[in-house]
Symmetry: C2
Subunit: 426 residues, 2 copies
C-alpha cells in the first residue's frame, strides 16, 4: 500500500496537523554546540527548585501521604491542591474571594497547555473562530490549526490589547455573519508570549464589555480565555493587575488558566484552570478521557510547596534572578543593537520583543536568520506568532528574544553576536 | 441568557460528552464509610513503591540530573526512558528486537490512557468505526462516545477474542459499505478489563490476518491497537504471550500501548506507545499540542527505576501480592457465591468476571446493585462495559470484581456480603 493510501487511515486532524515550527529551531540548536539560544522558552536552569523538591518529595513519600501520592486520584485534581490554588489566585487578585475563585470550578491539569487544549476541545468545532492577539503564543495557533479553527487577530500595543481593534474585528464578523462562529478571545494577559506586553485591568474590563455586546449577534456566550502563564514572573513596574475573574459579573464568561511550570518547575508539570459552567463540566469530562487526572505525586509536591511557604519563597528568588537577567539583556541590547530597532522591554516574563525596520525580514528563510545561525545565535522569528489574516500582510520583521534559559554571560554574548549580524542588515 | 443558550457555545464534543458512569460509583463510595469497593481499578495501596521512589527521586534531585528533571524536555519523551522502554518491551517479548521495538517510533505519554486518546484523535473522525471486544474497557467507550465514533463489538471467550466473530463483523460491515469507516480494532490483550481474559499470540496473528484481508475493501490500513496495560501483572498460568508487534510484518499495523502506572505507580503516571508511521508522527504532534511532553521528573524516576533493576524487583513483588489477593478472592467466591454463577478466573491483572443467570440483572438500577450498596459492597456492573449494538441485547447479568485495592480481609468480607445478597436473587 502506498504512502498516500496509508495516510488515508488518519483522521482529518491527523492529516492536517502541521509540524511545529519550533521543532526545526530545536533541531538547529542540537547540531551547533557553540550556539546560544535566545529562542527557547525554557526557564532558568540553575534556579530550578531541586533542593526544595527533594525535601518535599522526601517528606511526602516517607509519610502517610506517600501511598495516596503514588495512587490514582480524582479527575479534577487533589482537593487540597485545588483549595490551595483557589486561595493562591485569590491572593494574587488581592480580593476577598467568593464566586470569582470558586474551588468547585477549579481543575488541575498537566500544565496550563493541557487545560487550554481541553478548553478548545470543549468549545470549538471545525470552522469556529477564536480571536487572538496579533501576534500571539504560537503553540496556541498550532492547536487551532490542527483542529481547523480559524484565528482572527486583534491589534496589541505596548500596553496590551487594543479594545477598539477588538470592537472593529467583531463588527466586521457581525457584518459578514461569521460572528456566529466566534467562541472566545484568547488573551495572554501578563508579559505576553511573544511580545512581553501586559493588558491592564481596565482593558480587560473593556474587552469583556465588548464581548458581551456582541453575544446577541453570536447567539451564545463569547468567552475570554485569560492565559496567565507568566503572571508570577513579575520583576518590575506597577503592581500586578487583577485577573479578569475580578471584573464584576465576569466569572460567568472568564476561563482563567494558570500554571506552576513557569514559577516553580516545568518538569513537575502542573497547571490549572478556573472555568464557568457549562465549560467546567465539559472540560472535567474531557480530562477524564485524557488521563483521569494529573499525576498525584506532582500535585502533592505543589500542594506541599504552597502550604509550607516554600513556593512563595522560590518565586521571590526567581523574580530577582529574572530581573537580573532581563537587565543584562536590556544593557546588551542598548550596547550592541542598532538604534533603529525598536525594543519592547517587559516588566516580567521571559521575553524582549525587537522590531526591525519593516523592510528587513527576520523569518526562518531570511538572510538575517541564516546569518544569525551561522554566527551561533538563535531567536524566534516574529512571523511564527502571527495568525493568517487576509486583512494585513503577515509582519515579518520582528524577533522574540528570551532571557529565560541562557546564562547572563550567554545573554550578553548572544545579543552581541546578534547585534553584529543586524548591523549588516539595518 | 438561559442555560440552553449557554450550552450552545460548546462544541459538538462539549455538548455530547457524557458523565462517566464510574463517577457515580465513586460518589456512592464516598458517602458510605463502611463500604468495601470491589469496583475501583486502583492498585494495591500498601505495596506502592514509596521507599523506592523516595530513594530514586532523592538521587535524581541531588545529582546533575536534577535541573533537567525539573526543566522542559522533548515532546516524544526523555531519550533514556525511550531507550529503556523499547528494551523493556523487547525483553517482555523475548525477541532480538529490531523493527518491532523501534525507539524512533516510541513515545512517552501521561499514562497509556493519554496515548490511546491521542491515537483516536489521530485516526478517527466522527462516524468512523472502531471494533472493540464485547465487553471492553469502559473509559475507551467513553472516549469514542465523546467523539461520536461508533464502537462495534467482537465476541470474546475465556481464551480471548474470537477471530471468527471478527471476520463475521467485518464481513457484515463490508456488505453494508460501512467497512470504509473502520479504522482499528482495540484489543486489551492481557488480563482484559473487565473480564480478565488474555488473547493468545496465535489469535493475535489470526486477527492481524483478518484485518489485512479487509483492508482492500476499507481502502486504507486497519490498525490493531493492542492495549497491554495489565501485561506485567501476571501471576499464574502459561508464560507471557508475545505482543502483536512480534507477528511477522505486523509492526506496520500494530499500535502497542503500555503503562508503568499499573506495575509501578499510578500516581507517577507514565505510559508509552509504539506506533507505525504515519500514526507516530501525527500522535507526536498531537502530544506537542496537548502538553509538549510528559513531566520530566516522572520520566526520570521511571528511567532510574528501570536502570537500577528496582523496577523489576518491584514488579516481582507485586505479582506475588496480587497472586495472594486473587487467591483470597477465588476462595471467597467458592465459599460464598451461589453455584450457578459462572466465574472467570484470571492469570493476572486485577479482575474476576462473574456471570449470573441471564435473567438476573446487575445494572446500576437493578435490585441486586441496590441491595449490594445497601450491604456496603460495590462492584462494576458488566453492562457499563458493553458498546451499543443493535445486533444483540446489551448483556446485563455480569459483574467485574476487582481485588486490586481492597485488603485481603476486605476482599473476603466484600465477597461474603455480595454472596449473601446474591443468594436472595439467583
Amino acid at each position: 500500500m502506498k504512502k498516500s493510501a496509508a495516510n488515508s487511515a488518519l483522521s482529518a486532524l491527523g492529516r492536517r496537523i502541521a509540524a511545529p515550527p519550533i521543532s526545526w529551531l530545536m533541531q538547529a540548536a542540537l547540531s551547533r554546540p557553540r550556539l546560544i539560544s535566545l529562542a527557547a522558552g525554557f526557564t532558568n536552569n540553575p534556579s530550578l527548585p531541586c533542593a526544595v523538591s527533594r525535601r518535599l518529595l522526601d517528606e511526602i513519600l516517607k509519610s502517610e501521604a506517600g501511598p495516596p501520592a503514588l495512587q490514582y486520584g480524582i479527575t479534577a485534581g487533589e482537593t487540597n491542591l485545588r483549595r490551595l490554588t483557589a486561595a493562591h489566585v485569590q491572593a494574587l487578585d488581592a480580593t476577598a474571594g467568593g464566586e470569582a475563585h470558586c474551588l468547585e470550578r477549579l481543575i488541575i491539569s498537566g500544565g496550563s497547555q493541557q487545560l487550554i487544549y481541553m478548553t478548545i476541545e470543549a468549545l470549538c468545532d471545525e470552522d469556529d473562530i477564536v480571536l487572538v492577539e496579533d501576534p500571539t503564543y504560537f503553540v496556541f495557533l498550532a492547536v487551532l490549526q490542527s483542529r481547523a479553527i480559524r484565528p482572527r487577530g486583534v491589534r496589541i500595543e505596548q500596553d496590551g490589547i487594543v479594545p477598539a481593534s477588538l470592537e472593529q474585528v467583531l463588527a466586521a464578523l457581525k457584518k459578514s455573519g461569521a460572528i456566529r462562529r466566534v467562541k472566545a478571545l484568547y488573551l495572554v494577559s501578563y508579559f505576553q508570549n511573544p511580545t512581553g506586553v501586559t493588558t491592564s485591568f481596565e482593558k480587560k474590563a473593556a474587552v469583556l464589555d465588548i464581548l458581551k455586546k456582541f453575544e446577541p449577534a453570536a447567539g451564545h456566550p463569547i468567552y475570554l480565555i485569560e492565559d496567565a502563564a507568566y503572571r508570577e514572573l513579575r520583576f518590575a513596574g506597577a503592581p500586578d493587575a487583577p485577573s479578569a475573574l475580578t471584573v464584576p459579573r465576569a466569572p460567568a464568561r472568564v476561563i482563567y488558566t494558570g500554571t506552576y511550570s513557569k514559577p516553580f518547575a516545568p518538569g513537575a508539570r502542573v497547571g490549572f484552570g478556573i472555568l464557568p459552567e457549562p465549560v467546567f463540566t465539559a472540560v472535567e469530562r474531557v480530562k477524564g478521557n485524557h488521563d483521569f487526572g494529573t499525576a498525584n505525586l506532582l500535585q502533592q509536591l505543589l500542594a506541599r510547596a504552597l502550604q509550607t511557604g516554600l513556593y512563595d519563597r522560590h518565586v521571590a528568588k526567581i523574580q530577582k534572578r529574572y530581573a537580573q537577567k532581563a537587565l543584562v539583556m536590556k544593557r546588551a541590547l542598548a550596547e550592541h543593537f542598532p538604534d533603529n530597532i525598536e525594543i519592547w522591554e517587559p516588566s516580567g516574563g521571559l521575553y524582549f520583543w525587537a522590531r526591525l525596520p519593516e523592510n528587513v525580514s527576520t523569518g526562518l528563510r531570511s538572510a538575517v536568520f541564516r546569518a544569525a545561525l551561522k554566527n551561533d545565535v538563535l531567536y524566534v522569528p516574529g512571523a511564527l506568532c502571527y495568525p493568517d489574516d487576509p486583512s494585513r500582510a503577515r509582519p515579518n520583521h520582528e524577533m522574540r528574544l528570551s532571557f529565560g534559559s541562557a546564562s547572563p554571560e550567554n545573554i550578553h554574548e548572544g545579543i552581541r553576536r546578534l547585534g553584529a549580524v543586524l548591523r549588516k542588515f539595518v
